[in-house]
Structures are given as C-alpha cells and as structure tokens.
C-alpha cells in the first residue's frame, strides 16, 4: 500500500510571498502520478497540479510549481506570489499507473495567506 505524508499541518504566509508545502510518499511502483489538490472553505476539491513520475521536468501551473525528487520520493508544492484566495487546505495525493486508479491522500496542510 502506498502512504503519503504531509508533515506540516499548518502554514502561514504573507500575501505576495512564497510558501512551500512538503509531501513525501512511500511506494515500490516505478510508474505513478502525483497530485496536489486544494480544498478552500467552500469544501470543493480543486486540482492544482499533477506530475507524471516518468517525466523529469517539474510541472508548473501559473503561480504553482512542484519540486519532484523521484529518488527521494518527495513532491513539494511551491506557491509563488501568494494571494488571499490561496487560503485553503492542500492535499498531496498518489495514484499508481495501470492499477485501480484510486487516489491515496496525505493528511493535508492548511495554508493561511495573511493580508
């Protein structure tokens, strides 16, 4: 079974600053996918970014980027130029390729952006 660990329960960042959320995972699979989902107070689960394990290049989506270190089994999320709307809980998730396509989630990190 895969486990996903988010070691930071809460983080706070000043508006326009940068914050980095950590995620590590444990797997024996060589091909898999990693995701970051955002859950604002509205409760909706929103995909932020995804990374395919076979791609060496780190994924980027506007102000969101990841640092994927396959050997270290690490997948951190960087939020640049933080905005008040980024306030949310962020979940790291793992899915193995070609399996049952289920997501295994970390415990989440609550990010608060201060004005």
């Amino acid at each position: 079974a895969q486990t996903v660990t988010q070691s930071q329960p809460e983080m706070s960042v000043q508006e326009a600053e940068t914050v980095t959320l950590s995620c590590t995972y444990d797997t024996s699979e060589s091909n898999y996918y990693l995701f970051w989902y955002k859950q604002p107070p509205s409760r909706q689960m929103i995909l932020v970014i995804r990374q395919e394990a076979y791609k060496q290049q780190n994924a980027t989506e506007n102000r969101f980027s990841v640092n994927f270190q396959k050997a270290a089994k690490s997948f951190s999320l960087k939020i640049s130029d933080s905005q008040l709307g980024d306030t949310a809980m962020y979940f790291c998730a793992f899915m193995k390729h070609g399996g049952d396509y289920k997501l295994s989630f970390g415990a989440g990190t609550t990010v608060t952006v201060r004005a």
């Binding site: 989902y37 909706q44 689960m45 049952d100 396509y101 289920k102 997501l103 989630f105 989440g108």
Partner: protein, 112 residues
C-alpha cells in the same frame, strides 16, 4: 454546467435511518468514485465503478452499498446510519487514461 454534481449537499438524519446520496457526471467519464472525508479532513477511497462494474471496495461496512445505474451515475445508499458515519462524502470521476479525478462539491452528512 456542473461537471460532477451531488445531491443533497447537506443531510441531517437520525441514527438508524437509511439514506442515499446521488452523484452524476456529465464529463463522459467511465470511472466514478466515492471518497469519505472524516472530521479530521482525512480523505479515503470507499468505492469505485468502471463502466457500471465495481472495481474498488475498500474496507467499508456492508451497510454502505453503491449502485451505478449507468456510467454517468453512481449513488451511495447507507443503511442503519451510525454516529460515526458523519462525514463529508465526495463523488469523483475520471477516464482511464486521463488519471486526473474531478470531484463533486461533497455531501455533508450529520447523524444525530
């Protein structure tokens, strides 16, 4: 247009009752899921259906029964509700080959 919708959004009920949550997706996806988010916000897979066939059934009490009348719908029926069933239930869908799952807005269930 809502891609993945769930009804109801809120459900308050008494212990011992039976209730259902409905999910519909208009994305043309072939795989649908139910996840449970507990009071500590931890998310865990419950069930998955691919083209109306059950493919995942994680250690869930048999009081929970999913039903998929067609590949656009996945409903969750819960019998004999217990206090511990209080949670937010999320439906999600994907296409095999896309991998990315799209979530519904969640149903907050409160059992009194």
């Amino acid at each position: 247009d809502t891609a993945v919708s769930q009804t109801p959004k809120y459900l308050v009920t008494q212990m011992g009752n039976d209730k259902s949550i409905k999910c519909e997706q208009n994305l043309g996806h072939d795989t649908m899921y139910w996840y449970k988010q507990d009071s500590k916000k931890f998310l865990k897979i419950m069930f998955s259906y691919n083209n109306k066939e059950l493919i995942i059934n994680e250690t869930v009490p048999n009081r929970f029964s999913p039903k998929s009348p067609d590949k656009a719908h996945l409903n969750l029926h819960i019998n004999s509700l217990e206090l511990g069933d209080s949670a937010v239930y999320f439906c999600a869908s994907t296409d095999r080959g896309l991998e990315t799952q799209y979530f519904g807005p969640g149903t907050r269930l409160l059992v009194l």
